[in-house]
């Protein structure tokens, strides 16, 4: 029982820190509440989908910004727009915030600004991916030890 309590405490603390540091917002908590016995891996699956989407969109943005003969900012903006939508739907607050700034640079047709935002968004996406993988690992450990995932406040 002690092991389970320890792991649960770790999970709660880690979740809280992710919210406090702005990596996740209430939308993510909503998703966790949707997870039940019928769909026990739902959050992990949705997160995987999101990361797949992220990688595809980041690659699209990078390719569009690489064009030497003239960047199609509308194309970049379309990808940023999509990433803004999916990141806000999953509760990835910091990724979403970069997208907001990114769209302004697209509108201003500012290639340098866009490239900086691309770096930022790639960085935030990597950070979030690592953090969520840690969170999910903690979840697995709790379940393996026979405990249940605590409801995140």
């Amino acid at each position: 029982m002690d092991v389970v309590n320890q792991l649960q405490r770790q999970f709660i603390d880690y979740s809280a820190s992710l919210h406090r540091e702005g990596f996740l917002d209430d939308q993510f908590t909503q998703l966790q509440k949707l997870q039940d016995d019928n769909s026990p891996d739902f959050v992990v699956e949705v997160a995987s989908l999101f990361f797949e989407d992220c990688e595809k969109l980041i690659n699209n943005m990078a390719r569009a910004l690489e064009q030497q003969q003239g960047v199609d900012f509308r194309q970049v903006d379309a990808s940023v727009h999509q990433l803004k939508g999916s990141s806000s739907s999953i509760g990835a607050m910091r990724v979403k915030d970069v997208c907001v700034a990114f769209r302004s640079f697209c509108e201003a047709q500012n290639r340098e600004g866009c490239l900086r935002c691309l770096q930022q968004v790639t960085h935030e996406y990597s950070l979030l991916k690592n953090k969520l993988q840690t969170l999910f690992r903690l979840q697995q450990q709790i379940l393996a030890a026979g405990g249940s995932i605590p409801v995140v406040e």
């Binding site: 509440k33 949707l34 949705v46 989407d53 999509q82 939508g85 910091r94 915030d97 950070l127």
Partner: protein
């Protein structure tokens, strides 16, 4: 380099955060029991959003279908499939959300349509409403907006 969050005193930030979260915790995932079998179509080009919106609807017992572009949405409606609710994004591949909405309305379809989009400007809102959506919701679609609409559709 991470984007900077609004700066303020560390202690009061934490208090506000805690109080805000307590208040909002009560609002999270509003409960509702539907009496009728409702159906919904989700039209969104982004996989993550489409899957999440369908999952949210299903968690309330709504039967859902999803399509990832405007043209397929119009074709599905044109084939005679009926829905109680259509959730549609503004920016869609092949045929955009505004045009798809107009075409669906032109077919004489009167069901509830929600424009759920990341676009947040007043002009976008007006355009989507003018095209024929009943409600304009900024992403993400959340229970606070969805549940009253489901209640209404369920006749509660």
């Amino acid at each position: 380099m991470a984007p900077t969050l609004p700066s303020s005193d560390q202690a009061s930030d934490q208090d506000n955060w805690d109080n805000g979260r307590l208040a909002r915790k009560r609002q999270l995932l509003i409960e509702i029991v539907l009496r009728n079998r409702l159906t919904a179509l989700v039209v969104d080009g982004d996989t993550t959003c489409r899957v999440l919106e369908q999952l949210l609807l299903r968690s309330y017992g709504v039967q859902t279908q999803g399509v990832d572009n405007g043209r397929d949405a119009v074709a599905l409606i044109a084939s005679g499939v009926k829905f109680d609710l259509i959730i549609i994004d503004m920016i869609l591949p092949v045929l955009n959300g505004l045009e798809a909405t107009r075409q669906i309305r032109d077919m004489g379809v009167h069901c509830k349509m929600l424009g759920v989009t990341i676009c947040s400007g007043e002009s976008e809102r007006q355009a989507f409403l003018a095209a024929g959506v009943d409600v304009f919701i900024e992403k993400p679609l959340d229970p606070e907006h969805l549940v009253p609409i489901l209640r209404e559709l369920d006749g509660q």
